[in-house]
């Protein structure tokens, strides 16, 4: 079969979407995606805001507790304070890591 004839045949291979509400459905999904995009951005901003507030309050609280001396079941308060500080640092780093990952993952997806 010649190239011209083959091209003529292939013209019949175009398919049409037979679903009448296809356009509206896509537009509905597009609008939904737009709303979701806005709400996710808002949530990320809020997450950063509360993370920073928590961090500041945590620093203030740690500094405040440091000045109080007390005995807890015979243990020195400094030891307990150290344990609490290690726990806080652990929480902060994991949460910070999650926040950074999520923010950049989303940024890369949008680019």
């Amino acid at each position: 079969m010649e190239e011209k004839e083959f091209k003529k045949l292939m013209e019949y291979s175009e398919l049409k979407i037979e679903f009448p509400d296809f356009e509206d459905k896509v537009m509905e999904n597009v609008n939904e995606a737009k709303v979701n995009k806005k709400s996710v951005s808002k949530n990320i901003r809020l997450a950063w805001f509360f993370f920073l507030i928590g961090l500041t309050l945590g620093l203030i609280a740690t500094n405040f507790i440091e000045n109080i001396k007390f005995d807890y079941f015979g243990e020195d308060s400094n030891l307990i304070l150290l344990a609490v500080e290690v726990l806080i640092v652990l929480i902060i780093t994991t949460q910070f890591d999650n926040l950074i990952r999520f923010t950049f993952k989303r940024k890369n997806r949008l680019e």
Binding site: S13, E14, K16, N29, V30, K34
Partner: protein
Amino acid sequence: MDNLYIKKVLNGETEEFRYFIKKYKDMAFSVSMSVLKDEFLAADVVQESFVKAFQNLGSFKGKSKFSSWFYRIVINESFKVFRKRKEVQVEAVTENENEPIDTFNAIEEFKEEERRYFINKSINHLPANESLVLRLFYLNENSIKEICEITGWSESNVKVLMHRGRLNMQKSLFRLLKTEAKLLI
């Protein structure tokens, strides 16, 4: 024209995205059908691709045509679904390989609707990559360079697929017509 609508959509006029749906839905559907061979799955993939295109429109730099960029999304999404399903093995077309195939004259005898039916049925028997390349080249009139850009395949690969696709398409069509003739007799 596409660029004008891209700007409009990026400026917040979401409803203008309908222009792209109207313009590209049928070709995107044909492209997806080449890979998936299932109209419901293909329609879902096209829908998903439009949403993805909308979400990533800001990243479209305009280095290539919008259509090439968009069909690339459609093809990637189609192959994602395709890989999830098990590849449907295409029947090997072996019989009458040396027989002269005058399928063009034979198909000319049919009415337009029947021709459309036979051609789409034959193309559905081809492997995904062959039918995809044939549709992009002959139907969408993309050049080989553009097909490479859209699919991410090498030029030699596209040429081989096109050659193989053409042969298999003719054989598949010949077989279909032969079966039809037998049924009529």
